[in-house]
């Protein structure tokens, strides 16, 4: 079955990031230098070509863009400055919108209005919900050990309900989108007939690659794996503590420095800040191929996460030092940034790669196992 070429697809994908796609003359240097490409999963040139020709089925059925960790070797080797690495990035954004059934992802990626409106809207709703939860008002009385009674002002059982609502919505969206990804990349891929057992035999890939991103280590850029992993582990740890273990994590007791609440909290904060500052400086200075191009969503994600982290740190400092009003307001601001960031970034935008990438590795492993 021949596939129809579509000259308009390039114009569509261009909305997700401007490429220099006419420059490529298909020498194949990019694929040759890529440390992650392998037989059966050739990139970036093949995806690049599919993009030039508007082969939509080829693009939507490929997991290859997700297998790329964007070390940027391809772009720096490219004799035509065609930026194959950034093209993979643009394809990831496009694919995120393809997997998303709500259509919101495309709106957020392609329209500044939608992106900012959604963030502000969810932020305001969060503030209203917090004010609604805050029946006690500002409690000026301090605890026995001199801390602010934060948990009394914003009871963790109420916040937890909100957390879980948010988590369920986000997970629901993400899971359905992953199902769609599976449908498009595995079921609809006519080049391979998947063996059912490989879903089980290859499942370890999902866990290992989610937890370690060990493939990033194959990229020859020094230390990228390390800061990326610190950022990821900090994020996942913090997310788990504030959603799953909130009653344990958010208390009015001031723990000693050696107790797990504080050690884990500090580690997560350190991981987040270390990774974020590295990315921020990188993108600001454009000191590496992977940071040369920054889409608005790349910046928003970093800035919102930095703000979330900083306000989180402030809440912590204000609370243990008994600064009531400061704690109260910083907590509201903290959540007014955190909630829209999670609601928008995780299912619809850049953060979704934390799910799509390990799943892509998993699906690729399934395809590979089935081809044997």
């Amino acid at each position: 079955m021949s596939q129809r070429v579509d000259p308009t697809l390039v114009l569509e994908i261009e909305k997700f990031g401007k490429g220099t796609w006419n420059e490529c003359f298909h020498c194949g240097n990019c694929t040759a230098v890529c440390p992650l490409t392998e037989q059966g999963f050739l990139f970036p040139r093949k995806g690049y070509r599919a993009l030039q020709m508007g082969l939509k089925d080829t693009i939507t059925s490929s997991v290859e863009p997700w297998l790329c960790y964007y070390c940027g070797d391809c772009s720096s080797t490219c004799p035509r400055d065609a930026n194959p690495g950034e093209t993979m990035m643009i394809l990831r954004r496009y694919l995120t919108s393809v997997y998303d059934w709500t259509g919101l992802s495309k709106k957020f990626y392609t329209s500044h209005f939608w992106e900012f409106f959604a963030i502000i809207f969810i932020g305001i709703i969060t503030i209203f919900l917090l004010l609604f939860a805050n029946t006690a008002g500002i409690i000026t009385t301090l605890t026995a050990d001199g801390g602010v009674m934060l948990d009394k002002m914003f009871p963790h059982d109420l916040i937890e309900k909100g957390d879980w609502t948010m988590a369920v919505i986000v997970a629901g969206l993400l899971i359905t989108n992953i199902m769609r990804m599976w449908w498009k990349t595995v079921v609809k891929d006519k080049t391979v007939k998947v063996k059912f057992f490989s879903y089980f035999t290859e499942a370890w890939n999902l866990v290992v690659h989610f937890a370690t991103q060990v493939k990033f280590n194959k990229c020859e850029g020094k230390n990228y794996w390390l800061w990326h992993w610190l950022l990821m582990s900090g994020y996942v740890l913090m997310f788990t503590m504030i959603v799953v273990y909130l009653p344990w994590f958010q208390t009015d007791k001031i723990y000693n420095w050696y107790e797990p609440q504080r050690i884990l909290g500090y580690y997560a904060t350190f991981g987040l800040m270390f990774g974020l500052v590295a990315v921020f400086i990188g993108r600001f200075k454009k000191n590496n191929e992977k940071f040369k191009f920054s889409h608005i969503t790349d910046w928003l994600f970093i800035i919102m996460l930095i703000l979330t982290t900083i306000t989180g740190i402030l809440v912590h400092i204000f609370r243990i030092n008994g600064m009531v009003a400061a704690t109260y307001y910083s907590y509201i601001i903290h959540l007014a940034i955190l909630v829209p960031m999670i609601m928008i970034e995780v299912p619809f935008s850049k953060w979704s790669h934390l799910a799509y990438r390990p799943f892509a590795v998993y699906f690729a492993a399934i395809k590979k196992a089935s081809k044997k």
């Binding site: 129809r4 070429v5 599919a50 082969l55």
Partner: protein, 583 residues
């Protein structure tokens, strides 16, 4: 005949020869041969002191034959002939033995190479005994020129010569001047108007009083030779006799028949058109399908009938750039139309051409590559929104089987020689390559002359080419002709064939084999006659003549046999010497 007194000179060519050949031994050995007066070796015979050595010896020793054993005669035969002339000897009393290309460069055994050198020089010595003095002849040049073909090349050459004050007869087959270039809208790579080039050119050709135009006229037969050609053309019904000294063939080429490629359905599918048909649309200023509406998906297929063993194997050179030009014109005229370029290889060489390719690729044009040798695209009729055809192809860069929707397909059909190329070739006495393009005298060093003196080929008749190349060739040929005219006469070949009328039996075998139509039959005497100005001295007639009546000057039977004898006797005597030593 006076007794031959031969001088032999063995050249070292620095170390080129001396390293592999014992030049002293060669000179010694040859010095013992009969009639050899002196035999010397010298480091560089072609140098001024080397030549002076020959001149001095000729005078001192009354030499009347000279042999130089050095490099290929292609390189220095003329040098040494001039040295002989300087010393007052006829330059044809000279022979060269090639002991470099044919000996020292290709052998690794010094003793064997020296032996071979001795044999080669002995052969030359034996031959030169029988050399005869030959006299150079000159012919006067008629200052008029015949130009066949009124395209851009023919017109340019005509103007160049006419503006120098010389008469030009410009013969054009069709009723109009301009040829293929006049049918174009814009030219690549700068997208400038072809009409703006052609119209003033045509006007100045028509108004030039030195150019005598014959439109709607064909040249049938041409007689004569360089300096003195003649032909008869029909002009307004009556025969006009023309005399001229030189000929420029500028007959151009024509588009090949796109219907030959079944895959593309030209002539069967309505909106499949050729590049010239599209050019007509552009000239009219409206790009439209057969039904009059604007196309929404235009596919341009390259290499139609080119670079494929089933059609023409050569590249037509201009189609890639013309196709890129179309993409630009389409984009300008129809901003929302999808444009597809289906190419085999993009050949955008030449000044400004790669730049046009790069600029076109930024015009939202989709380029797709197919296999021109084994896997041509196939056009199928189909129904759908904004398309009436689907072009199926295996795209090489993606490795995918794809289909391209199109409602107009432009076939970039290649160029080929005119159907009457052979007749023209015969009329002017030039040869054609396998693709019916005329062959130049030397592909690199003499690209506009032919092996027939006084006949030049310019423009597309020599092979597909673009306007700048055609114009360059036209001006080059004009310059060559004016150079000859300025001299007023030209030296012609003296190593020609001649017929011994007493022996000729009148079988006319020689007339059939002569590649230069230089032999005619004298009906009165019933013998063949060689036109010594047309004759190139190739020797074909001499070897074909059953009675031995034809003698090739400077390549007589006696000369060649004695050369072979010299070669064999030296080899033999060297073997014998060797045997004696062993005993």
């Amino acid at each position: 005949m006076e007794k031959p007194r031969i001088g032999v000179y063995v050249c070292w060519c620095g170390t080129n020869i001396a390293k592999m050949v014992d030049v002293e031994a060669v000179a010694d050995e040859i010095g013992r041969l009969p009639n050899v007066v002196i035999s010397k070796n010298y480091k560089y015979m072609c140098s001024d002191p080397g030549q002076d050595l020959i001149v001095k010896d000729i005078k001192e020793h009354q030499l009347n034959r000279v042999v130089v054993s050095a490099c290929s005669p292609r390189i220095h035969e003329l040098t040494f002939r001039k040295a002989l002339e300087k010393a007052g000897l006829n330059p044809y009393l000279f022979e060269m033995a090639n002991i470099r290309e044919q000996d020292s460069w290709v052998h690794t055994d010094r003793a064997e190479a020296t032996k071979k050198a001795k044999s080669l020089v002995a052969a030359a010595v034996n031959r030169v005994n029988f050399h005869e003095p030959l006299d150079a002849r000159t012919v006067d040049i008629n200052p008029s020129t015949l130009i066949i073909g009124g395209g851009i090349a023919g017109m340019t050459a005509a103007l160049e010569i006419a503006n120098a004050g010389k008469t030009v007869y410009l013969v054009e087959k069709s009723k109009d001047l301009g040829g293929n270039a006049a049918k174009l809208d814009l030219t690549f790579p700068y997208l400038t108007s072809a009409q703006q080039l052609m119209k003033p050119l045509i006007k100045s050709v028509k108004s030039n009083k030195n150019i005598i135009l014959f439109l709607g006229t064909e040249v049938k037969e041409i007689f004569g030779y360089i300096g003195n050609f003649e032909t008869t053309v029909k002009d307004e019904g009556k025969d006009t006799k023309l005399n001229f000294g030189n000929i420029i063939v500028a007959t151009g080429l024509r588009p090949s028949n796109a219907a030959k490629i079944a895959n593309y359905g030209y002539g069967k599918i309505p909106d499949v058109i050729t590049s010239l048909e599209f050019e007509e649309m552009l000239n009219k200023g409206k790009i439209a399908k057969k039904d009059g509406s604007e196309p929404k998906n235009v596919a341009i297929i390259h290499c139609v009938g080119s670079r494929n063993k089933d059609y023409h194997e050569y590249c037509s050179r201009t189609c890639c750039l013309t196709a890129l030009k179309y993409a630009n014109q389409l984009r300008a005229a129809l901003p929302t139309t999808n444009i597809y370029e289906l190419y085999a290889d993009m050949r955008a060489m030449g000044k400004g051409c790669e730049e046009l390719y790069a600029a076109t690729s930024r015009q939202h044009v989709m380029f797709m590559m197919f296999d021109q040798q084994n896997d041509l695209p196939k056009i199928k009729q189909a129904k759908g929104k904004d398309y009436s055809m689907l072009i199926e192809l295996n795209e090489k860069l993606s490795g995918e089987a794809i289909e391209v929707p199109a409602d107009m397909v432009i076939l970039m059909n290649g160029m080929e020689a005119h159907e009457n190329a052979k007749e023209i070739a015969h009329a002017v006495g030039i040869s054609m390559c396998g693709n019916s393009f005329y062959i130049e005298k030397h592909p690199k060093l003499d690209p506009v002359a032919t092996t027939t003196n006084g006949v030049y080929i310019v423009g597309g008749c020599q092979g597909p080419k673009d306007i700048p190349d055609s114009v360059s060739q036209a001006r080059a040929a004009a310059a060559r002709i004016m150079g000859i005219m300025a001299k007023g006469s030209v030296t012609v070949e003296v190593t020609t064939a001649c017929v011994n009328e007493d022996i000729c039996c009148g079988c006319q075998t020689c007339i059939k084999v002569c590649p230069y139509t230089a032999i005619s039959f004298n009906d009165e005497k019933k013998v063949s006659v060689v036109n010594e100005i047309l004759c190139k001295g190739c020797g074909t007639c001499g070897s074909a003549c059953p009675t031995g009546a034809i003698r090739s000057r400077h390549f007589t039977d006696q000369q060649i046999i004695s050369q072979i004898e010299g070669l064999m006797s030296m080899s033999l005597s060297l073997e014998m010497q060797l045997e004696q030593q062993e005993v």
